[in-house]
């Protein structure tokens, strides 16, 4: 994990310098760095030779997240995926949350179509899961049943995660791939259009998912976790 992280950081710097020197467009450099940033997570997961149960639980959570996106595909902006990924992170830890987010993005794009946005979506959704898992481990998000204020608190957190992190990451993809001359004004224009037309509706969907589904789903996940004693957040390696 440490070696792969160091190597990926080094490679990112090399790509950044080389891309600048050769005058490549930003989309190539930035996408390469986004891909590299996910490699350490993959290396850490693969190098500990995951058990069948971990693999299956990741696949199940990933499929639930994808189904939630597919079911509402007809209604614009109703995307519960990030909410489900965050719940996974809370129940099963940051790494499981990250991997569920990245793989759910990849798998759902096998259905909706791959594109230059795929790595960015993978990173954005993965980070949402990682963040939720980290906050749960730090004790800031309760793993058990949520009281009403807690429910509101976590849902607001979900709203903020989409508005402040997931949405801007996806907008950055737009800035680097579609904007010819990256100036502060152009970037600001893209971020504000993205905020108004995509991120706020997406954040509301995430809020609603966490508010309505969060506590009952967490109860289900906890029940299975206790019943079969797996994926305990404490036992998940770093």
């Amino acid at each position: 994990m440490i070696w792969s992280t160091a190597l990926c950081l080094l490679l990112s710097v090399v790509i950044l310098v080389a891309g600048d020197a050769l005058g490549f467009r930003y989309c190539l450099t930035s996408t390469a760095i986004v891909v590299l940033s996910m490699v350490p997570f993959a290396v850490s997961f693969e190098s500990r030779r995951p058990q069948a149960r971990e693999i299956v639980v990741l696949a199940v959570m990933c499929a639930i997240a994808v189904v939630s996106r597919v079911v509402f595909a007809g209604i614009p902006h109703v995307k519960p995926l990030v909410g489900i990924v965050m719940i996974t992170g809370i129940a099963f830890g940051g790494q499981a949350g990250f991997l569920t987010g990245t793989l759910a993005a990849l798998v759902s794009n096998f259905i909706f179509g791959q594109g230059p946005w795929t790595p960015w979506q993978m990173l954005a959704y993965g980070l949402a899961g990682l963040l939720a898992g980290g906050l749960a481990r730090a004790g800031l998000i309760p793993r058990g049943a949520w009281s009403m204020p807690q429910r509101i608190g976590v849902s607001v957190l979900g709203f903020l995660v989409v508005v402040c992190m997931v949405g801007p990451i996806l907008d950055t993809c737009t800035v680097f791939t579609m904007v010819s001359t990256v100036t502060p004004e152009a970037a600001l224009a893209v971020y504000s259009i993205g905020f108004a037309t995509a991120n706020v509706p997406h954040a509301i969907a995430t809020f609603a998912t966490l508010f309505l589904v969060g506590s009952p789903m967490l109860a289900k996940l906890n029940r299975v976790r206790v019943k079969y004693g797996f994926m305990e957040a404490g036992k998940m390696p770093k």
Binding site: L22, G23, F24, R25, C27, L28, A42, F45, E46, R49, P50, Q51, A52, R53, I55, V56, V57, L58, A59, V60, C62, A63, I64, V66, V67, V70, V71, L99, L103, A104, L106, V107, F110, I111, G113, Q114, G115, P116, T177, M178, V179, S180, T181, T183, E185, A186, A189, L212, V213, P216, M217, K220, L221, R223, V224, Y228
Partner: protein, 296 residues
């Protein structure tokens, strides 16, 4: 007719190498001639892969191209040739418009390559290719891809069963939301319990004891090696010519066409040969088919 054309029958390694190189090199080439070649090749490739249905995708690219091209001069006033001014003096320049068009062409060709990629590189080829490098994660992807339709079927079953015993009454929004929630919770429980059974079954069948094999088997023979060679050699040749400066292009302050050297034409020709490779094998197959039909 998905999965039956000559491009779909390419070895996953060849197909993946081609699309990865086409997309990455497409992002590197700044010369308009190279970009036009990329757009043209991605259009013909999509036409070969998807047939008539490709036209809808291609038509959808026109507004994307226009938005990207026309928006650039609004943010960049670089360039000497002023087309018109607005907002009391802000210039809308020809050079910025051309630069925007160049980015638009790059973006559109990238989307079109991805459209072909999605058809050719199906998920089973993806997992075939990466099953060796990331066995755990590619197994997760494989399983998730199977579970998605499985869950949709199961949800329909649950709705039918609940309706049969008089639940799922419909009614107001509140009622329906309640129904949806209990459906979801039943779904999640079932999915996880089912997953545990799957995992135990995997364990008792010695999951992880040996290297995994994949469902589809592809043979990497002389034809595959030759195709991969053609793709890689022409791609690298075009890249070498571009890096040598033969394909540099100045947009600002005025558009300057550099003198087209021999190296430039060599680079352009090998770029076209590289990008038209799938179109070539697709068209070749089509011609051959017509020829055999005509002899019957």
């Amino acid at each position: 007719m998905l999965g039956s054309g000559p491009i779909e029958r390419l070895h996953p390694a060849v197909a993946f190498a081609f699309f990865a190189l086409a997309i990455v090199f497409g992002m590197c080439m700044c010369h308009p001639a190279f970009q036009i070649v990329s757009v043209a090749a991605s259009v013909t490739c999509l036409l070969v892969v998807r047939g008539k249905r490709a036209w809808r995708v291609i038509a959808a690219m026109v507004p994307v191209f226009l938005v990207v091209a026309l928006a650039n001069p609004l943010f960049s006033t670089m360039g000497d040739t002023v087309l018109f001014t607005y907002f009391g003096g802000r210039a809308y320049t020809w050079e910025s418009l051309v630069f925007g068009a160049s980015t638009g062409a790059m973006f559109v060709s990238m989307l079109l390559w991805f459209a072909s990629y999605s058809v050719v590189m199906t998920s089973d080829k993806f997992t075939y290719l990466f099953g060796g490098v990331i066995p755990g994660l590619s197994l997760v992807v494989t399983m998730a891809l199977r579970l998605v339709p499985n869950y949709q079927r199961k949800a329909t079953e649950m709705v039918t069963a609940r309706a049969g015993v008089g639940l799922m009454s419909g009614g107001g929004v509140r009622e329906r939301a309640k129904d949806a929630l209990s459906l979801l919770s039943a779904m999640v429980s079932w999915a996880l319990e089912d997953g545990v059974v799957t995992a135990d079954s995997m364990r008792s069948r010695a999951y992880g004891a040996a290297r995994r094999t994949s469902f589809a088997r592809y043979c990497f023979g002389r034809y595959e090696a030759f195709s991969l060679g053609v793709v890689v050699v022409f791609a690298l040749l075009s890249m070498a010519c571009a890096l040598s400066g033969a394909a540099s292009f100045e947009f600002y302050p005025t558009i300057a066409w550099p003198d087209s050297s021999l190296l430039f034409w060599l680079g352009l020709a090998s770029y076209a040969a590289f990008l038209l490779f799938p179109t070539f094998i697709g068209v070749k197959e089509l011609v051959r088919w017509r020829f055999f039909l005509s002899r019957i």
